[in-house]
């Protein structure tokens, strides 16, 4: 035992010194697991004292002039995050300058001459018509990349270029230490094409940055979603990847399949993306002339060299597309039952796909005319068949227009996610009017390798408080998650009787016990809430956990560092 502890302490020290304990991009890693494996300070005990007050070398609060809808990245004692005000911030994470600006971009004082990106002090904004909270500034979370054009470390994010057609979308690469511009990519989201880089965050793999493009103004006009591979050395589009279209490419008008999410990279190097709705439910409307090639509302696995699709899953038939975008980024990782890609769709259904090999695959059981589709390994809640061919698949999932667009956290075989759960059937076919917070206010711990009957491990239910969950992260047995009403929770991740706070029926609104059993549902555990804080603003993003601190950004423009 002593020897084991010594090794653990030594390992922690080595990891801290080598910088493994960082959070280098959206969802922590290239698979977007949101799982911090190298957290040794925070545990179920110390997490119960997390706070941002009183201010200290590890507790602080930074306030920007506009919302943060991006999630923080943390590296080299610095928190990196862009704001919808068009400014990208590097904030000291801890120490005597904790919570103060290390640098910001564009800089406060205009460089003379303008820097390598041609930037002065103009914020990175789309001039007008940027639609939802993925604009007008920076909604794309940053990724940290090593050795970019002779810079040891670079920070890379998507943002509008105010000097190009009033906000053409590009990737930007800045020196992580100084904020100096290294390059800006070619335009990949032209405003004249009504495109933008919205919530999509670059994922770094194989010396390239993969990022998605969606509509500038959601659904009107809807544009073709795309994924680009950008060469890290130069900022040029990797032509070999082909900038594949994920939208409707063979009909009039060609439109749909916006990539609002962040591409994930699987252990085999392939790229997995989720795509948005088609032109069936948008403008210009194409419902009378549906496309022959259709990769909308889908999870698609791509060859990392060519961008060619390996497989496609489309759980909702395009004819029943009432805008249930697949906007949550996939979580991709190796589990005990293979490499899985998981993401919840806006209609509340969670699908798990077996990532498989590089041979194109599909299954007639889940296909329909003109569509060769792969079946999910499982769907939660389980369904009799796919694709859905009914009108219960729409956009908003509660009466405050909250949406299921948030990725889960995948730690081994356990997936922590806000998903529709067993209530999604009750809310069909009209989620606009029938749901309250039942759908968005439940955080699940699911076993991704269990059978359907044993999928749920626990449910944290805040629906009766009208709280809708954002994106969780997990570290060292603690789940961290915010809500869209400003609540922050640290939750005991464990599943056993000594850690539970009670039981709840798996079906919402049915009391646990005999009534639950009589409906063929089952009682499941309620986890212990270790800490509850009320913060200012909505918390849609992923809390980043690094070396005893939790970094949380809000739509009120607050960035918090929580520590014991």
């Amino acid at each position: 035992m002593t020897r084991f502890l010594s090794c653990e302490v030594l390992l922690a020290a080595v990891l801290a010194l080598t910088g493994c304990a960082s959070w280098r991009g959206y969802g922590h890693d290239e698979g977007h697991t949101s799982w911090q494996r190298h957290e040794f300070v925070l545990d179920t005990s110390s997490a119960s004292t997390l706070d941002f007050q009183p201010p200290s070398a590890t507790r602080w609060e930074f306030v920007a002039s506009d919302a943060f809808t991006a999630s923080p990245a943390v590296f080299d004692n610095t928190v990196y995050i862009g704001s919808l005000n068009g400014t990208f911030y590097a904030i000291w994470a801890s120490g005597p300058a904790a919570g103060t600006i290390r640098w910001q971009y564009p800089p406060v004082t205009a460089p003379v001459p303008p820097d390598a990106c041609g930037t002065t002090v103009a914020p990175l904004l789309i001039a007008s018509g940027s639609g939802n909270p993925s604009g007008p500034g920076i909604a794309s979370s940053a990724a940290i990349a090593e050795d970019v054009a002779h810079h040891e470390w670079a920070v890379i994010f998507g943002a509008p270029d105010p000097n190009s057609n009033q906000g053409d979308g590009r990737l930007w690469a800045l020196d992580a230490k100084s904020g100096q511009c290294i390059w800006k990519s070619q335009v990949i989201a032209p405003t004249v094409g009504s495109s933008k880089i919205g919530y999509s965050s670059p994922t770094i793999s194989h010396r390239r940055a993969f990022v998605g493009v969606s509509a500038k103004n959601p659904d009107n006009p809807i544009t073709i979603g795309r994924v680009f591979a950008i060469d890290l050395a130069t900022g040029a589009v990797d032509a070999a990847f082909g900038a594949p279209d994920f939208g409707v490419v063979s009909s009039d008008p060609p439109a749909g399949g916006g990539v609002w999410s962040s591409p994930a990279v699987a252990p085999d190097g392939s790229v997995v993306v989720t795509t948005g709705n088609s032109c069936h439910a948008s403008l210009p409307d194409c419902s009378s002339s549906l496309p022959a090639v259709d990769r909308t509302l889908s999870m698609v696995k791509l060859d990392r060299h060519t961008g060619s699709p390996i497989w496609q899953a489309q759980p909702v038939d395009i004819n029943w597309d009432f805008d249930p975008d697949w906007a949550a980024s996939p979580s991709v990782a190796r589990t005990s039952c293979g490499v899985l890609s998981l993401a919840v769709q806006k209609d509340g259904w969670l699908h798990a796909l077996d990532v498989g090999g590089m041979t194109p695959s599909s299954d007639p059981a889940c296909s329909y005319p003109g569509h060769n589709l792969k079946c999910p390994a499982w769907t939660f809640p389980s369904v009799a068949s796919l694709p859905f061919q009914d009108d219960g698949h729409g956009d908003n999932m509660d009466t405050s227009f909250h949406r299921l667009i948030h990725p889960g956290a995948l730690a081994g075989d356990h997936y922590y996610v806000a998903t529709g759960g067993l209530d999604v059937a009750a809310n069909a076919p009209n989620p606009f009017t029938h749901s309250r917070f039942i759908v968005t206010g439940r955080l699940y711990k699911l076993d991704v390798c269990a059978d359907d009957a044993h999928r749920i491990h626990w449910i944290l239910d805040k629906s009766t408080l009208n709280q809708a969950f954002g994106s969780p992260s997990v570290a060292n047995g603690v789940v961290y998650v915010g809500t869209l009403s400003g609540d922050f929770y640290a939750v005991d991740a464990h599943t056993d009787p000594t850690h539970r706070a009670g039981v709840i029926c798996s079906y919402p609104t049915v009391p646990p016990g005999p009534m639950c059993a009589a409906g063929n549902f089952r009682d499941v555990d309620v986890p212990n809430v270790l800490r509850h804080l009320t913060l200012t603003g909505q918390i849609p993003g992923i809390p980043a956990v690094v070396k005893g601190q939790v970094f949380v950004a809000t739509t009120a423009g607050h960035l918090y560092a929580l520590a014991p």
């Binding site: 939660f380 809640p381 389980s382 369904v383 009799a384 068949s385 061919q389 009914d390 009108d391 219960g392 009466t399 067993l422 209530d423 999604v424 059937a425 009750a426 809310n427 069909a428 076919p429 309250r436 359907d452 009957a453 629906s463 009766t464 009208n466 079906y507 609104t509 049915v510 009391p511 009534m515 009589a518 409906g519 063929n520 549902f521």
Partner: protein
């Protein structure tokens, strides 16, 4: 033993619905659970729960319609009977019905009618199914 249990369930279902149907309901009154409230379920037969009922009575001819949602988890309800003529709509999930000797897979949006005291079997192939039930009391 299984038959005996099914018969007991059927009887329970009949009398549960009979009790509901006989409740006096104000004309055009509607019962809605306020947001956040627990709706209050009743067990119709093992495997099938009924949510709160809302009903309307037509003053002109005395006809009454009662609506409620039925919820079932994965599994089978061998037999259920209704004390009134029933119109059922699958709102979510996928169920198989056994009615008048016909077994049929239903998808959301499907309607089917069940006569008074007629036996129907329900089987849910997914984790959850929601069925809207309209009980029609035409005064006869």
């Amino acid at each position: 033993m299984a038959i005996s249990k099914a018969r007991t369930s059927t009887a329970l279902a009949f009398w549960s619905f009979a009790a509901l149907a006989l409740q006096s309901t104000p004309a055009l009154a509607q019962v809605d659970a306020p947001p956040g409230d627990q709706p209050g379920y009743a067990v119709i037969v093992p495997g099938l729960l009924a949510g709160p009922a809302a009903s309307v009575r037509f003053e002109s001819n005395g006809m009454r319609i009662q609506q409620q949602d039925l919820v079932m988890g994965r599994g089978e309800v061998p037999t259920v009977r209704f004390p009134l003529r029933a119109l059922m709509e699958l709102r979510g999930g996928g169920v198989t019905t056994a009615l008048r000797g016909q077994v049929q897979n239903r998808v959301p949006g499907d309607f089917w009618e069940v006569a008074r005291d007629e036996a129907i079997g329900l089987s849910n192939r997914g984790d959850v199914a929601v069925i809207r039930l309209l009980l029609i009391d035409d005064g006869q």
